[in-house]
Amino acid sequence: MDTPRDLRYTDTHEWVRLEDGIAVVGITDFAQSQMSDLTYVELPSPEDEVSRKDEIGVVESVKAASDIFAPFAGVITEVNEALIENPELINTDPYEQGWMFKMKPANPDDIDGLLDADQYDDLAPEE
């Protein structure tokens, strides 16, 4: 499983990348491989105010559905509309084309509370 060293992670399998104060969020390579072929994605709406652990999206495969959680409190600034028609982008490129939403954290320091790559790898059982 690919766990980029420079990203931060949640225990619910989201990854977070900070770009100029905006957090880009998606689901990890481990999560997409566990779900396998994604068939449906539900995204939050721009300007939504969210709290940490809010269920703000859904990913579905043929066999399973899984909620997407806000990694911390903040405001949604942008969502990846391309996923609506092509949810498989999450399977093929989870950390780049498969990003799900961007948000402005209420408290920029909150990202420090997330897991680093080593901690996340310890969490996810080896395939």
């Binding site: 072929d37 449906y40 539900e42 495969s61 043929v62 559905a65």
Partner: protein, 363 residues
Amino acid sequence: MRTILYEEHVACGAKTAPFGGWDMPIQYAGILIEHAYTRGQCSLFDICHMGEFEVAGPTACADLEHLLTQQVASLEVGQCRYGYLLREDGGALDDLTCYRLGPDRYYLVVNAATCPGDAAWIRAHLSPETTFIDHSPQTAKLDIQGPQSRAVLEMFLGEPAPELKYFRAVETTLRGVPGLISRTGYTGEWGYELYFPVEKAVEFWRRFLEHTPAKPAGLGARDTLRLEMGYALYGHELSTDRTPVGAGRGMFIDTTKDFIGKEAVMRELEEGAAQYLVGLQLHTRRAARAGNVVVADDQPVGMVTSGSLAPSIGTAVAMAYVDAPYTTPGASLAVIVGGKNLPATVVAFPFYKDGTARKKSGR
């Protein structure tokens, strides 16, 4: 338990999961890819987990007529028929296919999870002169399904495939060993179910993959393929909790004969069942799942038994038991999924109408 092909599946990169007491391949390349390959070309399925019984003797026909809902006496040698095994109260113990292999010799193909219970129930209801053999441990079953199945079977056999109509089978030799070739399946596509000695399973599996265009498909694709056809899956659409009248409004039930459970079945046929199985066409890719509640004007009227994205259709579909007044095709219902109402329209089965299973020649 694992089928004899477990190591082959692992070598093919399968993800496995428990099904009916067996650790089975769910997918190899991916459910959507395998689904599409079955609809377009030909897939190979390991179905060794299912059970096979031989019931024989001069009293076998009458015994099976009493045990099964489908008519047995009118089966020709080489013909098979789908139906149900019921309890006295009409609850379905299993759904199964009954083949007539000889004048007094029948072959039953049953589900994996129900196999031990079926064997005990059937044995307990046989005449002393009827013999019962559970061939399951010695029998391998491979399904080849898809419009290219006939060509694939011929490449595999190295000789022309037997001419078989739909729901016909022939006892023959497969590459030198005795077996059964049946023109049946669970996908809606032209295809065959092959039964042969378990010792040949690994060799035959590899031969299909190395010498024909067939690719392995797992139980994940098998499930989406059967869902698109509206075929019942025991444990989802069928159980001991209901008679099969709700599932098929009397289809696969011969009411001209006596059979165990007939009284309950006739009562429901005459008075009407409380709920019937319907197809639900959803309007997005978001899937309804087994256990989701079906509502009409926010009042609960039923429950989903199977649901998924239908890959060949492009939207989600579901099968659901719904209160009788809401079962007319065209009726507008909704399914509660994740706290939201997903609109759904009642439609007739099958969801997918372009299956090749009943085509004339298979070429």
